[in-house]
């Protein structure tokens, strides 16, 4: 019971006293300044972010920023902020595009020690209490192409969250979630697998027998899955890219159908067309060979020019 209520209760036997006290209190309250707008405008998202930041700091972490874009919220540290801020809008658009209705809200957080080697990006659906997805960051965000790496890790975490809410049949078939952004996992490997595989359906598919290609990707309902999980992930990603908005919802809509039918529903076209597109991309892939890393060439040219400049500028010495 508050102090005012106690006083009013004690004054109840005295006629008119309680009303007089109440009028005085109201007039005094009117003279006080209004409560701060910042304190009254806190929404649940801001409160959650503050709670997460406090929990991280009490555990020795250093979260400093909350980035929000559409259905994605990211708690990050000073070091990673710039990199993730650049790709969060793209991730948000890709995530939202997978669902026919409003996309589920996702909470992402950078966790780990201050020296970079133990950092992890974790993710959960906002209504979940525990983080359900994680991928290791390592020190790659300080490497030569942090944006591509950040795009890939965010894609991996979002892919894990996608699969976390899929039916058991899809989870068993796919194992790793399809990444909604970044280079699809397995796109680089597919050309190598197609070139080197000795499995019968894959060899036949590679050599031009298109009727054997669905079996190579595990779409024929058989137990043998010749191509790797990464190749199947690339196939699902191709279906999501081709299907446009709501493709993921359509993929989940009929869990009792065959994987081939589900991919067709998601992509809006037969899975053979998706396989043809992947095969054409793999055939055109030039990720191998000596020219695979052009950065090394430019760096070498730079060092060459520097050495020549030093010698020519310094001249020859006895």
């Amino acid at each position: 019971m508050s102090s005012l209520a106690l006083i009013l209760a004690l004054l109840q036997p005295v006629p008119g006293a309680a009303d007089s006290v109440r009028r005085v209190v109201d007039r005094l309250t009117a003279l006080l300044p209004a409560p701060s707008e910042a304190r009254t405008a806190l929404d649940s998202l801001t409160l959650e972010a503050q709670a997460a930041r406090a929990a991280s700091e009490s555990a020795g972490g250093t979260l400093t920023d909350t980035l929000v874009n559409g259905p994605l919220t990211l708690l990050t540290t000073r070091v990673e902020r710039r990199v993730f801020a650049d790709i969060l809008p793209e991730a948000s658009r890709a995530w939202s595009g997978l669902f026919a209705g409003p996309a589920p809200e996702v909470w992402l957080e950078v966790r780990g020690g201050p020296w970079g080697s133990a950092r992890t990006l974790v993710g959960r659906h906002r209504e979940d209490t525990a983080f359900r997805a994680a991928t290791h960051l390592g020190v790659r965000l300080r490497g030569p192409d942090p944006e591509s790496f950040a795009r890939r890790v965010v894609g991996e975490v979002l892919g894990q969250l996608l699969l976390d809410r899929a039916d058991p049949g899809l989870r068993d078939w796919l194992v790793f979630g399809p990444t909604p952004i970044g280079q699809p996992a397995g796109a680089e490997e597919l050309s190598y697998q197609l070139a080197t595989s000795v499995a019968p359906a894959t060899r036949a598919c590679r050599d031009g027998d298109r009727s054997r290609c669905p079996a190579a990707f595990g779409l024929d309902g058989g137990t043998t899955k010749e191509l790797s999980l990464a190749a199947r992930g690339a196939l699902v990603r191709a279906a999501l890219d081709a299907g446009g908005p709501g493709a993921w919802d359509r993929l989940l809509a009929q869990p009792d159908r065959s994987m081939s039918d589900r991919l067709a529903a998601a992509a809006g076209r037969p899975p053979e067309a998706l396989i043809d597109r992947l095969m054409a991309r793999a055939r055109a892939d030039r990720s191998g060979g000596p020219g695979a890393d052009p950065l090394r060439w430019w760096v070498a040219a730079g060092w060459l020019a520097l050495a020549l400049g030093v010698v020519a500028g310094g001249g020859i010495r006895r």
Binding site: P144, S191, Y192, L194, A195, T196, V198, R203, R206, D207, A282, R283, D285, R286, S287, G288, G289, P290, G291, A292, D293, L295, R296, W297, V299, A300, A301, W303, L304, A307, L308, V310, V311, A312, G313, G314, G315, I316, R317, R318
Partner: protein
Amino acid sequence: MLSAMIRLHWKSSRAWVLAAIAAVVALPIVSVALAWPHDSADVASFLARLDAWSLFYPAVAGVLGAVMAGLTWRSDRRGDFVYALTLPIERWRYVWYRFLSGAMLIASVAAALWLAALLTVATTPRAAFLHAYPTALAAKFGLATLAVFSASFALVALPGRVRQVGARAILALIALQALVFLLGWQGNWLVPVLEALTDRFGPLGILGGRWMLIDV
């Protein structure tokens, strides 16, 4: 003057250049022939063996670049640069001609590799999803040799005393590292230095990466 320099450089280094040409002509032919699998469908082992053979390309590039740089300045060092310093030519132009003469001989070796790679690729049946990279291989070989050549060129052009002090310091560091290793102490400074020299941004980073003539 440049043509005279090239002639003199050729005379002093022709044995090495001819040996390098023989090596780079043989490498693609021998590597593809020896890597070829008994079962033509076993592409994975073919690529693995070809990858192992491809290590010889950066090795030849490194040796050729270092030797050419040493031979470039050998005659001038013998004469203590007296003749070079008395020539009526700017120093930077003289250095540039020296560099160019070495670079042109290196380019001839890279051209030989390119022709041999083209011939090998033309006569080798390729499985689907495999591609040949003869031009990229020859260009990378030329650039890698030039990179080693330019680094060695700069080092060899240093004054003799500086080179002696530097060489002794490096030998002392290597000896100290070996001693630390033998005594079981913690301490490793050579490996980070080597990694810095050969990673993607190092001066010798071009020697890394893929060197396969046939790849996915």
